[in-house]
């Protein structure tokens, strides 16, 4: 006795269809990353991968534990708003291994004028100098100015 009577050919079609579905699901399971769709139409784990990238700037909170004196000096002057790495560059490697990685001192000759050379496009209230008039002798800026508190000793807010 045939269990499906005359419908045996329908059963065979259904089996082929089921095999097709199975194949689709296998291929899909292999190709679609696990976390796809977790937060939206993208691979959710990509977020964590970007978040795990290495840092090069340590961030201004890192400096004070060792350089409290310089941070305090800076905070007392017109450079209070500057973060250390704005001038000293990325120092995450130095923070991770202070003894082995020694920061290079910035070259004052190019560092200071990067911000303070006169440029008509700068806000007029920002302190700017015409280098040749301000310093005809070609002295280094830190001959007169303490870089961490540049108006110290000039009779103004130090």
């Amino acid at each position: 006795m045939k269990p499906f009577g005359e419908a045996g050919h329908l059963l065979r079609v259904a089996l082929v269809y089921a095999l097709g579905v199975a194949l689709f699901l296998i291929v899909r399971a292999i190709l679609v990353p696990h976390s796809f769709g977790e937060f939206g139409y993208y691979r959710g784990r990509a977020i964590a991968q970007v978040a795990a990238l290495p840092m090069h700037f340590a961030g201004h909170q890192a400096c004070r534990s060792c350089h409290a004196d310089v941070v305090a000096l800076k905070r007392s002057g017109v450079h209070a708003g500057l973060h250390c790495e704005a001038c000293h560059g990325p120092q995450a490697a130095h923070v991770a291994n202070p003894a082995a990685v020694r920061p290079v001192l910035p070259r004052v000759a190019t560092l200071c004028i990067r911000c303070h050379a006169y440029n008509p496009a700068r806000p007029h209230s920002f302190p700017q100098i015409v280098v040749k008039q301000h310093d005809p002798g070609g002295l280094a800026c830190n001959t007169c100015h303490q870089p961490h508190s540049p108006l110290q000793g000039f009779g103004k807010k130090t």
């Binding site: 089921a18 579905v21 199975a22 689709f24 699901l25 296998i26 899909r28 399971a29 292999i30 679609v32 990353p33 696990h34 976390s35 796809f36 769709g37 977790e38 937060f39 939206g40 139409y41 993208y42 691979r43 959710g44 784990r45 990509a46 977020i47 964590a48 991968q49 970007v50 978040a51 795990a52 990238l53 290495p54 840092m55 090069h56 700037f57 961030g59 201004h60 909170q61 708003g81 500057l82 973060h83 790495e85 704005a86 001038c87 560059g89 990325p90 990067r114 911000c115 050379a117 006169y118 440029n119 008509p120 496009a121 700068r122 806000p123 920002f126």
Partner: protein, 244 residues
Amino acid sequence: MNITRRHLLLLFPAAAMSWESLQAGAPEQAPNYQMYKHWWGMLLDISKCIGCGNCVRACAAENNVPEGYFRTWVERYRVRDEDMPYPQVDSPDGGMHGFPALPAEPGVKEFFVPKMCNHCADSPCTQVCPVGATFITPDGVVLVDKEYCLGCRYCVQACPYGCRFFNPSTRTADKCTLCYHRITKGLTTACCEACPTGARQLADLKNPNDPIHAFMRTHSVQVLKPYLATGAKDFYYDLDGAVR
């Protein structure tokens, strides 16, 4: 992946999908960082930008941006009087090495405009990606999945702000991540860290104590190309009508 043919035959497609999402698990995040509690943006104060290029250099150093490409850059605008629609704009090396002063011209206004990804809430670049390799995170940062990106460059064309580029070394689309690897650890972005004047301020729009809220309530603020309804989250203060 241990899925036998027998298992699969027992599952309907819909069941298979829900089972997969169960399997996915939470991403590895910095401890204590909860994505849904943040909505990141940036405040850019043009009246404070001095065009020193610190942000451009810091971004390149932090994110290994290849030479000649920029995730953030600074433009110098020169606008003649009321002739707003036709400004002169230059950005030598993206402003990375500063801007040599140009000879003054009477009646010409000059100013700097820092530019970067607007991390649009409804970003065109995300909408055009055919594979879902670019997306906005639940905390409002538009990122590129470098493992998934085909390098088709649709997103580069779609960005109305010119903030994307094709990275020749990774051969994928590249863009500002808003230093996602930093802000999820409680730090600010590299560009904000390096900005000497506070012209850039990372802003968490979901944090009611973020200073941006007080600033926005007391200042007139603009976004770029508001008519495109991209939901741009780079808020500019003191923006001139010449800036596009």
